[in-house]
């Protein structure tokens, strides 16, 4: 590929405006990484302001054979927005308009750069909100949520991004602009909307999103239960689900997380706490009271050290503070951590966590466990020190071992962060060559000419154990990381 950047840059400038094309190496560094460990410098960054501008930029890049990576806020945790092969990064952060809010039909049309939480804030005056709530929701964009099919603590009851998106306006690799799905709850033909959501920017670039809004719940109650043993907390999670209760959220932290959180935010957990469960129930006032009572009953079967509940927003915030601060607090325990994302069947949580503990004991590396437990979505963090020779490689190896364990017990490689660059070499653990071949044929079906986010999702041919290329790029998942 020979690239004449001297010709491409003025063309991009003509489309989006000179001040919205970034090409000096020192300016490009901000676009080098996302929330993951991966890094790569884009060749050029453009910030389009409309679908038409996106389309023109795509045509310019397509003509030049320049790969295109769409980027929201860069909070992703799997390298999805990293321009591994260089090329054009389309930063969607100028497209931040909420174009339409149809209160009666509870539908909004937004641009991809709208920050997740901003939408909920904007529609709150109508008593509505946008349900997917990734922990990065103060920063992450709805376009990014669509690309990764993001979840969040509350997706246990309300589902992930795809369950809340009705339609998408997209730009194809030939620059064509088209809506798939729409503002209606059903539309004929293949569910292209559902295929594009979660495709990590590899099939089309999303320029407008029609989302479904939910009515804010009448009441919310948070329950915090502290257990001395992790096994008891895990069993309580299975007990809650098994009792036919689907709370809005069930979050869990292990002893290491608790001690880190306690040191950082003084959440007031009791002495000897081995696991903390946070359960949130919302809905009708009566439903909340009845379900929290039922949750409490289940928790009491597993010898809790303490149970606290709160309905007042300030009190609820206090119960959540330890959980929300925990990732930042892990920095107190070790200079670096490797955050792993996997999901297992909920009934296998006890076994999985005990085997992770076994891995930690065998290898000598502490592993802190943070879980969206209601979904079976684990986030073990391997603590290490990159300054020690061999530590990074060891941490990555442990991460791989944990993923293998997740798959072995019937789970999957990623619950909510995506495959991106981080996990592509692990795909064969879950999928055969035939499975992946069928998936890969989506790209020619969308005639992408492989220019959209190339080199993502599928294995590049390196073996699972060949992780040195990642090791070379590893950084600690920085202050921008959220789970």
């Amino acid at each position: 590929m020979t690239l004449d950047m001297n010709s491409i840059i003025p063309q991009l400038q003509a489309v989006v405006g000179a001040e919205y094309v970034i090409h000096k190496p020192e300016d490009l560094i901000v676009f080098e990484y996302d929330g993951s460990v991966d890094r790569a410098l884009p060749t050029v960054v453009a910030l389009p302001d409309s679908a038409e501008q996106v389309s023109e930029c795509v045509k310019i890049a397509e003509r030049s054979g320049l790969p295109i990576v769409a980027r929201g806020a860069g909070t992703g945790l799997s390298g999805g927005a990293v321009a591994e092969h260089g090329g054009l990064v389309l930063a969607m952060t100028r497209m931040t308009r909420i174009l339409e809010v149809d209160v009666e039909n509870r539908v909004a049309i937004v641009e991809p750069g709208v920050v997740n939480l901003h939408l909920s804030e904007q529609v709150s005056k109508h008593g509505l909100y946008f349900a997917p709530d990734p922990s990065s929701q103060r920063a992450c964009t709805i376009g990014g949520n669509v690309a990764e099919n993001s979840g969040g603590p509350h997706c246990l009851a309300y589902g992930v991004t795809t369950n809340h998106v009705l339609g998408l306006e997209v730009v194809y690799a030939d620059g064509g602009i088209e809506w798939v799905g729409g503002i209606h709850r059903e539309s004929p033909g293949f569910d292209l909307r559902g295929i594009i959501i979660g495709s990590e920017g590899t099939l089309a670039i999303v320029t407008k999103i029609a989302v479904r809004l939910l009515r804010q719940p009448e009441a919310v109650k948070t329950l915090l239960a502290v257990f001395s043993e992790l096994d008891d907390a895990s069993a309580a999670v299975s007990g809650i689900i098994g009792a036919g209760i689907v709370p809005a959220a069930i979050e869990m932290m292990d002893e290491l997380c608790i001690s880190a959180a306690e040191a950082a935010v003084h959440a007031g957990y009791p002495e000897g706490a081995g696991a903390v469960l946070l359960v949130e129930v919302d809905g009708l006032a009566e439903a909340v009271e009845e379900e929290v009572a039922a949750v409490e009953e289940v928790c009491n079967l597993y010898d809790p050290l303490e149970i606290r509940t709160a309905t007042d927003p300030v009190e609820r915030e206090k119960l959540w503070s330890g959980r929300k601060g925990v990732l930042g607090a892990l920095g107190r325990l070790a200079p670096n951590y490797l955050l792993v994302d996997g999901t297992v069947p909920r009934t296998r949580l006890v076994e999985t966590l005990s085997r992770i503990k076994g891995i930690s004991e065998r290898t000598g590396y502490p592993i802190a466990n943070l879980l969206h437990a209601g979904d079976g979505n684990l986030h073990p963090s391997v603590l290490f020190d990159e300054r020690k020779p061999g530590d990074t490689e060891a941490a990555l190896k442990i991460g791989g071992e944990i993923l293998e364990l997740c798959v072995e017990v019937g789970g999957v490689l990623s619950g909510e962060h995506g495959i991106g660059l981080e996990k592509q070499e692990y795909m064969p653990l879950m999928f055969t060559d035939a499975d992946m071949d069928v998936m890969a044929r989506l790209r020619p079906s969308f005639s992408t000419n492989n220019i959209f986010n190339p080199g993502k999702i599928f294995p590049t041919g390196a073996s699972c154990s060949d992780i040195r290329q990642m090791a070379a790029a590893i950084q600690r998942a920085g202050p921008g990381a959220y789970v």
């Binding site: 979840g151 709850r185 059903e186 293949f190 569910d191 979660g198 998936m439």
Partner: protein, 430 residues
Amino acid sequence: MITRHLRTRDDLASSTIDGVEPISAVAPSSEDELREVVGAADGERLALYPRGGGTRIGLGGIPARPGIVVDMTRLNRVAAHNAGDLTATFQAGANMRMVAETLAQQGQMLALDSPLPARSTIGGTLATGLSGALKWHMGHARDTVIGMRVVQPNGSVTKSGGQVVKNVSGYDMSRLHIGGLGSLGVILEASFKLTPIPMYERTILASFDSLEGAMDVSMSVFNSHVMPLALASFGDSTARLMDVDPARPGSHVAFRLGGRPRTLDRQVDDVVKACREARAAHIGESPTPRLWRAISDFGWDADSLPDLGMRITALPSQTGDVIAAVEGCAAPDMEVAWLAHPGFGTVEGAWLGASSEGASAEDLIDIISEARRRVLTLGGWAIVLRCPTEVKRRVDVWGGEPRGSSVMRELKAQYDPNDTMNPGRYVGGI
């Protein structure tokens, strides 16, 4: 090898789709047999028409050419029910009633209320992708699926997704098959997330003198804190065809409510209050299983099988306009009945000829074009669920090219290059 599965002449007759009699009908008893049949048909350039219980086999265009009907009903196993995980996996031929009964033993359900569950199957319900009344609360059929295994036209079996409720590992290929009418492959097995059966359920049935009253109360509940499991509205003709007696004539709204005791009481109170505010002529209660079974079966069971059935979708707030459009499109000597899911913006219209010969094709074609014209002005769309073959020859049951149809054709070319799967029956002639 195909002849090995050939069954009787009667089977062939019952497997006829829109007058196109199959070359043979086969009912594979194992995954391997199914793969063999599919791969061989594709290799020999024969068309394949997958079939579940046959309840909605008439959905879609006329088969492009005779082929092999693959009866999936022997592949009917519960592959897994992990009650503690609220997940289950079924083979495509699993019968919907058996599925419901299996799950109910553990107090769980699958939020897919397909018509005629004694006959319909998991695979057929997903392939048609038409969500029932439970979509009000539980969302689309597509939102219940967490993983899928599919037999590709070349006979290979591939999977996507998994058996956990939260997963972004690879592309979600099941999206192409849910509502894809078997046009890209044969659904072999699907994994679902399940829902606990509510502790108690009650159904409020309210009647209104005017359609406006029925729509007002529907929208007011849609935009309230009460979350019914289902909410459906219907007219007098529909009530009669469903053998439901709402006590007063007019427009009716049924609310399916569920939960723990106090929660249920509160919902009933709120719904009754909303009905009073919308000046209901009568507010009563209806036996839950029977009414919702009738609503689900409407337009598909032998008693109410219409000459013409359409499914129209617009915005929730336009539901009343769509109903008016449906009622406004009738020919002399024809009865028109409607069933609406107002919070979803979907209306099913059924037209029945008064004479025993049924309605004339001309009349039905006029109704379809008039209904489409009216719906188009609302920005919605309308598909034909059921009509005589003669009408299908002259009308596109899918209502023309949907948005994204060029990508859809590319998908067909990629995944079914020999045009083996259900040829001619899907949107845009796919």
